[in-house]
């Protein structure tokens, strides 16, 4: 791969990574910790919302984030022709 292309690939990778980390931070440290007291005034079924994010929701979002990341990385790999096989 040429140098310019290599840089573009890495830039795309870091861009995706930043997006994932922002969501990762918002659901866990944001909704689950910093904003939890405020969110607890809202209810999701019997769950206070902040408590829900802390003990359930954030974990589900983590799973979704990893699979989304894996899929998007696969797309980026093919776009820049660095994929395996």
């Amino acid at each position: 791969m040429e140098n310019g292309n290599k840089d573009a690939y890495w830039k795309a990778t870091l861009g995706l990574l930043t997006k994932v980390l922002i969501i990762w931070f918002i659901v866990s440290y944001g909704a689950g910790i910093l904003l939890a007291p405020a969110l607890n005034n809202i209810h999701l079924g019997g769950y206070p919302l902040g408590f829900f994010f802390a003990q359930q929701g954030s974990i589900y979002v983590f799973i979704a984030l990893i699979f989304w990341y894996a899929k998007k990385m696969g797309d980026i790999d093919r776009e820049f022709d660095v994929h395996e096989d």
Binding site: M1, K6, Y9, W10, T13, L17, V20, L21, W24, S28, Y29, G32, I33, L34, A36, P37, N40, H43, L44, G45, G46, Y47, P48, F51, F52, A54, Q55, Q56, S58, I59, Y60, F62, I63, L65, I66, F67, Y69, A70, M73, G74, D77, V82, H83, E84, D85
Partner: protein, 600 residues
């Protein structure tokens, strides 16, 4: 069938299964021994990683801790799952592309320094050995509670079982036994939880039951739990944090970074065939982990409500908790309470001599609770419940059949054994691959190295068993020490090795040492130098949690920040990494060309 016979049968069958797998999956090469030949399917690896990850602490103690801490228990739930996002994006795929056998090998090659490799080996050994002691004591505890043998005999039996599949099978044997162990432990965990959820909320899914209404009422379970515990003087279940909000933040962050930096977890991702597999495999690992981790908070809250309901009839009837006839009579208490009183994990003492059990927080500062307790003639809390009971006695509290109780025994053992085996592999490969082959005998043949690996494994098992029989003081500090070290030294070094092309030897070594030093300094200030009683030096740092109220368990993240800052500063003052190293970094950043992991 007698309960004891059933337990022997179920545990015996599970052990026979593990040994059968061990005979089938023997290691013939170093590649088999270190990375299971590199051909493990990503879903399979995810399941093995889940068993590797979920220890005796996750299985036996975590729900109990959450039950006591309420919302504060969140630090474990998010901390021990969120790290997989970091692992999947920041480390696993790149280390897989690097294609070697161990974590210290990456650090040594990337920072072109045997010194860096040796520092990494020391960090790995410190973290893994602390961790493995907890597993061995867990094996002893599970044996002594369920099988009627002494804890010591339990540890010997556990050592023998691990010996068979870890020494002969290496990573290959461990991987396939871990899959069996995962299935045993997840059924053992979820079946009682499903029944308890059905019983309380009518919903078979504990995750939904936790957010549901109590059977026959319109009151949400969590709301009722909050009301009951606050009326009895405990802190509110759904809102009370672990210390301050800042501490919750750092505690969670330390566990996340530590999780991603623990070598025995990282090496599992060296076993999959491709870089893309390493990414998705982390997702599968988290799916299998989440089945237990989303069930645990439900078990915690439901068991807590159940215990209050058992001893106070007004909890169910929504009446006056302080009414004299609401507390149950001591002679009416259920059989499972008698059974666990024998073990000392549950204690009842009739302090006011009324023949009834009063369970409340007698240390509350809430004046109204104090007034009501006094008016009711309560003279102190009469029931103490050890956190471990929450999982272990769960099937009995829910009145489930004997085979479920037996399954919980087998599940606790599976959780402890699978984690112990993964740790032992990380320890033995650091010795045989990084020290014997890497430093002392670079010309050793593959056959010789495989033999060295097996001997190191056997030695590690004996050491772990010995430490389990004679636990040193630091066994209790597993979380602070193992996660602190992984977070403050290994994670930043690996991450900078991948994401900064210019990061050099001097920066990485200085960063690792600085991160390790400040973390150990803070942890030892609280818990004693090497956890030896009486050697703590809290005065020197100005009292407990003196650094912005952060507890020693949450300090790993601070150590990691120190590591990053020191490494950056030192690398700016010294020559940047050589061109061939920068090229190597470029090559691990792209997936194409990832072959199977090789030893040199």
């Amino acid at each position: 069938m007698e309960l004891q016979t059933t337990i022997y049968l179920v545990v015996g069958l599970s052990f026979a299964l593990y040994i059968g797998i061990a005979i089938w999956a023997r290691a013939g090469s170093t590649s088999d021994f270190y990375v299971a030949g590199g051909g493990v399917h990503p879903v399979t690896n995810g399941m093995a990683t889940a068993a590797d990850w979920m220890s005796a602490a996750s299985f036996i103690s975590m729900a109990g801790l959450i039950s006591n801490m309420g919302y504060g228990g969140t630090v474990f739930l998010m901390g021990w799952t969120g790290g997989y996002v970091l692992l999947a994006m920041l480390l696993a795929p790149y280390l897989r592309k690097f294609g070697k056998f161990t974590v210290p090998q990456f650090i040594g090659d990337r920072f072109y320094s045997q010194g860096a490799r040796t520092v990494a080996v020391i960090c790995l050994l410190l973290a893994s050995i602390t961790y493995v002691i907890g597993q061995m004591t867990g094996v002893g505890v599970a044996f002594s509670r369920f099988l009627g043998v002494s804890a010591d005999a339990g540890i010997y039996i556990g050592m023998a079982i691990v010996f068979v599949y870890a020494v002969f099978g290496g990573m290959k044997g461990i991987t396939y036994t871990q899959i069996a162990q995962y299935l045993v432990l997840i059924f053992a965990y979820t079946i009682p939880a499903i029944f308890i959820s059905l019983h309380l909320t009518g919903n078979p899914f504990p995750q939904l039951g936790l957010g549901g209404d109590l059977v026959g009422t319109n009151t949400p379970l969590l709301e009722r739990l909050d009301t009951v515990v606050t009326e009895l003087g405990f802190s509110e279940y759904t809102t009370t944090p672990a210390g301050s909000m800042l501490n919750t933040f750092f505690y969670t962050l330390s566990l996340m970074i530590g999780t991603a930096g623990l070598p025995h977890v990282i090496v599992r991702f060296f076993t999959v065939p491709k870089v893309s597999d390493a990414r998705s495999s982390a997702g599968w690992a988290l799916v299998f982990i989440a089945i237990l981790y989303t069930t645990a908070p439900a078990v915690a809250a439901m068991a807590k409500l159940n215990i209050h309901r058992t001893v106070n009839t007004a909890v169910q009837a929504q009446g006056d908790l302080y009414a004299p006839e609401a507390s149950i009579r001591a002679e009416d208490r259920p059989d499972w309470m008698h059974r666990w009183e024998v073990t000392g994990l549950l204690k009842f003492e009739d302090k006011n001599g009324d023949g009834r059990i009063q369970y409340y927080n007698d240390k509350t500062t809430n004046p109204e609770v104090q007034k009501r307790a006094e008016a009711a003639g309560w003279k102190g809390n009469e029931l103490s419940v050890n956190a471990d009971i929450i999982v272990l006695a769960n099937p009995e509290i829910a009145m489930l059949p004997n085979w479920v109780i037996a399954l919980v025994a087998a599940g606790g053992l599976a959780a402890a054994l699978s984690t112990a085996a993964g740790l032992l592999l990380a320890i033995s490969s650091a010795i045989s691959h990084d020290l014997v082959k890497g430093v002392f005998m670079p010309d050793i043949s593959e056959k010789g190295e495989l033999m060295a690996g097996k001997i190191a494994m056997a030695g590690a098992i004996v050491l772990a068993g010995w430490l389990g029989l004679n636990p040193p003081g630091f066994a209790a500090g597993t979380v602070a020490l193992a996660f602190g070290i992984a977070a403050s030294s290994l994670f930043p070094a690996i991450m900078m090795g991948i994401f900064s092309k210019k990061m050099n030897k001097a920066g990485a070594v200085a960063g690792m040492l600085a991160g390790l030093f400040v973390t150990l300094f803070y942890v030892f200030a609280h818990k004693g130098i090497l956890f030896i009683k009486g050697t703590d030096y809290l005065d020197l740092i100005g009292g407990a949690n003196s650094f912005f109220g952060i507890s020693p368990e949450g300090f790993g993240a601070v150590g990691a920040i120190v590591n990053f800052v020191v490494a950056y500063a030192v690398s700016k003052m010294s020559a940047e990494a050589p061109a061939e190293i920068q090229q190597m970094v470029e090559s691990i950043r792209t997936p194409r060309g990832a072959g199977a992991a090789v030893g040199h």
